[in-house]
Amino acid sequence: MRRLILSCSLAGLMACPALGRQSAYQEALEQFTARNFLGALAKTRVLVAEGPENPAYVHLHGLTLGALGQYSQAFVYLERAIALAPAEAAYHHDLGMTLLQAGHDAEALQALRKAVELAPDNLLSRLYLGRILHNRNLSDEAMRQFEEIGRRDDKFPTLHYHMAKIHLNSGRAPEALAELRREAELFPNNPLPRLELAELLLKLGEVEEALQQLKELERASPPSARLYWLLGKALQAVGKPGEAVAAALRSADLDSSFAPAFYLLATLYQQLGEEALAQQARETFQRLSRQQNSAQP
């Protein structure tokens, strides 16, 4: 979803490269789009040297630096591009996304706010703005952004998933369930909302439906520790501890640092009377829990 907006939009027309250098710019852009960031960087360096006041060159150079993880330099160029073309919403969006990528959520929030202000119909900016707001637990404002997206395009990818997350964090289970069902219906191939849906169904005691979702996901999506952990929990809930153990073991195999898988394994082995294995799982769980706890600030 980290889609970057690269545009020579109407608003930024004045900032578009001169015809003489347009082919060089196009080449740099193609390299960037093809994720050949080093190749793109070689070209954008030249472009910026030749046209330091051209916001499109400066912007693309900043983006390329950001893609290579050279964030401090990237911010210099992305901010300079904005200074050269302050009304270009896409530049604010890209600065916001790069800030987000670099872990500067507070600054990203400001940049995306500006992007949304300049281009209210840019739903991707709104989505990311909503996500940051939600991550910072500004749930009401996040929900307003998501509702705004919904008014413009109710089928916008991941919209209902993000709305569900807000409902879940506010304890509104029925609303979360409805949003997750909608997302799963719209985008059946996206495993994340369906995993969330399955987990919620489990919590709500709708075990059979959860199991069905998880089995479909097992067939159709890449394996993940969380998927098999949930499958293990669902199988335990329907009274199949043997199969649940197999799923929990798969989860632990997929991610040996995933503590919940070992907690589940411990309870399952205990249930099956396999005390030695239960103890082994408990010890692994405790070790992982301590590690994770000590890693927290």
């Binding site: 009401d140 506010s170 005691g205 919940p260 309870t267 600030p297």
Partner: protein, 565 residues
């Protein structure tokens, strides 16, 4: 005048006949203002107290109330304390009179929790107060006054205590004492509020601060205690941020086990192995973590057989952005997290819970649940983060099928009041056959919520217990009864919820049943007594080894008890 009173009663009860809670603290004379440092709560000390204890200190048959107070930060630094804990004598007419000064129980230290029981078996209920600073043991002299004897008794620990509970773990007939301690904290060297919560600058802790080890004290039967934390095995565990504590015979082997709710760390279950030894089995029993293996921020503990399967279950309150956890006792020395199936998880997600208890407020025979809520960071009010410093408390009705339904909004406007609540405890303070409750609110007046209509919603029965071979308060006694509707069981505790202590009389709602066909008492001494065919809507006085004495009025212990046992 009479007609007007009846109209008022009708208005107080909901039109559908369900009981409601009415705030009567001010009119009942609870002139008490809790103080806990600065409004901005710059230090963790200012955020976690305080509790309340119900006790009949003068043995007149009416529950008196002890409210713990905090203090002022600047005074603390200067070594002074003008805030005072308060003892309110129940006058028996719905009002209280403050007797703190005469009783000598104001306390000299920043108070946290209180628990009440007769630790010296002299027939008079004593008080133990956990403090920031040395803890206090107030021995009831029987003449309306108390002596502070913590130092002499060997329980004046200077660790920052958070909660305490009396229990007779070795069954010798004398109450022992467990004290949870929170963090190592020195107000003279406390760090300024430079920590972050969701990007908001707030006070620091508990994470990053050193946890304090809890203490177990054995009663020496001579008015003193010995610290047996090491010898008992309690000290073998990693020190944790202890907050809530309850004694309960989890494995039903006749001795008291110990449950400790730890903040941000796994909970502890100390299984009593006999011979004064305990083994920590929190992880093994499923009590240490939530169903997903998460250590939650344990605050308060409620105990009760909510599903009436004869096993006592637990409910723990937690921080916001997490759910309070219902641990169902499977009867195989295992707990199952049933929070989601019981419909208790999602409704508690936004709230930061503290005091909590199971109690049958509508006398239908099923234990309902109360939760006191309130955040620790006043700063959250300046941001829209889906939570608030002042929160409403919550009441959940037990539906009788393993599920609960929140009925906070249906039980009277008093429950909708938003405050930052902490300790909470129940009592039938007006002796009318239904359970009322008190909540100690941070920096505010306490909430005294009188139950209006609970006694009309269902029949009930109440038991006041007195041990003879057992400890005199009968703490640890397990009472089971059978009615046409089924079985119920309760265990008498002294110290539970959060920093608090309930009415020691065991109250059972009976629904439509008008008789108890069988009553069994398992005394802490191991003695068992069975009685048959008891009438409902009565108060019973049960002395170990004697027949129950029933009365339509609450028994006056002065007339029924022998102080020179």
């Amino acid at each position: 005048m009479r007609v007007g009173f009846c109209v008022m009663l009708l208005l107080l009860s909901s039109s559908d006949g369900r009981p409601r809670f009415v705030e009567v603290g001010r009119s009942a004379g609870l002139d008490f203002q809790h103080a806990s440092g600065s409004a901005s709560k710059d230090y963790i000390l200012e955020t976690i107290g305080s509790g309340a204890a119900w006790l009949d200190y003068d043995r007149d048959g009416w529950m008196d109330l002890y409210l713990v107070n905090g203090g002022d930060w600047q005074e603390l630094k200067a070594g002074r304390r003008s805030a005072s804990n308060a003892l309110f004598r129940n006058l028996g007419d719905g009002t209280f009179s403050e007797v703190t000064r005469r009783a000598g129980v104001g306390g000299r230290h920043w108070g946290m929790g209180a628990t009440a029981a007769d630790f010296d078996n002299d027939g008079w209920t004593d008080l133990f107060i956990v403090n920031y600073g040395p803890n206090s043991l107030f021995r009831n002299r029987g003449d309306g006054s108390f002596d502070e004897i913590a130092e002499k008794a060997g329980v004046a620990s200077t660790l920052w205590g958070s909660s305490a509970a009396f229990g007779d773990y070795d069954g010798d007939g004398w109450l022992d004492l467990y004290v949870t301690n929170y963090v190592r904290f020195d107000h003279q060297e406390a760090r300024p509020p430079e920590c972050q919560y969701r990007g908001i600058q707030v006070h620091c802790g508990p994470k990053g601060l050193t946890p304090s080890p809890d203490r177990l004290y054995h009663n020496n039967r001579d008015g003193t205690f010995s610290d047996v934390s090491e010898a008992s095995g309690i000290a073998r565990v990693e020190p944790a941020y202890g907050l809530g504590v309850s004694w309960l015979d989890f494995d039903e082997d006749g001795d008291a086990d110990l449950f400790v709710a730890n903040d941000s760390m796994p909970n502890y279950l100390f299984l009593n192995q006999g011979a004064g030894r305990f083994e920590e089995v929190g992880l093994l029993s499923g009590f240490a973590y939530s169903q997903d293996g998460n250590a939650q921020a344990g605050m308060g503990i409620a105990t009760g057989d909510y599903d009436r399967d004869g096993q006592l279950d637990l409910y723990l309150t937690h921080f916001s952005d997490d759910y309070n956890t219902l641990y169902r006792n499977s009867g195989e020395e295992m707990f199952r997290d049933q929070s989601y199936p019981a419909q208790l998880a999602f409704p508690t997600w936004q709230y930061l819970g503290w005091g909590t208890f199971f109690f049958d407020f509508d006398n239908d025979g099923w234990l309902d649940l109360f939760v006191a809520n309130g955040h620790i960071y006043p700063q959250v009010d300046s941001y829209q983060i889906g939570t608030a410093f002042r929160q409403r408390n919550q009441l959940f009705a037990n539906l009788g099928n393993g599920k609960f339904r929140e009925v906070t909004g249906e039980a009277g406007p008093a429950l909708e009041t938003v405050l930052s609540s902490r300790g909470a405890a129940y009592a039938d303070f007006d002796n009318d056959g239904d359970l009322d409750l008190v909540v100690n609110n941070l920096d505010s007046r306490p909430s005294l919520l009188r139950n209006e209509g609970g006694n009309r919603a269902g029949h009930w029965v109440s038991f006041a217990l007195e041990g003879t071979s057992s400890n005199r308060s009968a703490v640890g006694a397990r009472v089971g009864l059978v009615t046409a509707q089924g079985k119920q069981v309760q265990e008498l505790q002294a110290g539970s919820s959060y920093q608090s202590s309930h009415d020691p009389r065991l109250h059972f709602g009976l629904g439509t049943d008008t008789r108890v066909s069988e009553l069994t008492v398992r005394w802490p001494s191991g003695a068992r007594q069975t009685f048959r065919d008891l009438a409902a809507d009565r108060w019973y006085f049960l002395r170990e080894g004697s027949e129950p004495v029933g009365s339509e009025a609450a028994p006056n212990p002065m007339s029924t008890r022998d102080p020179e046992r």
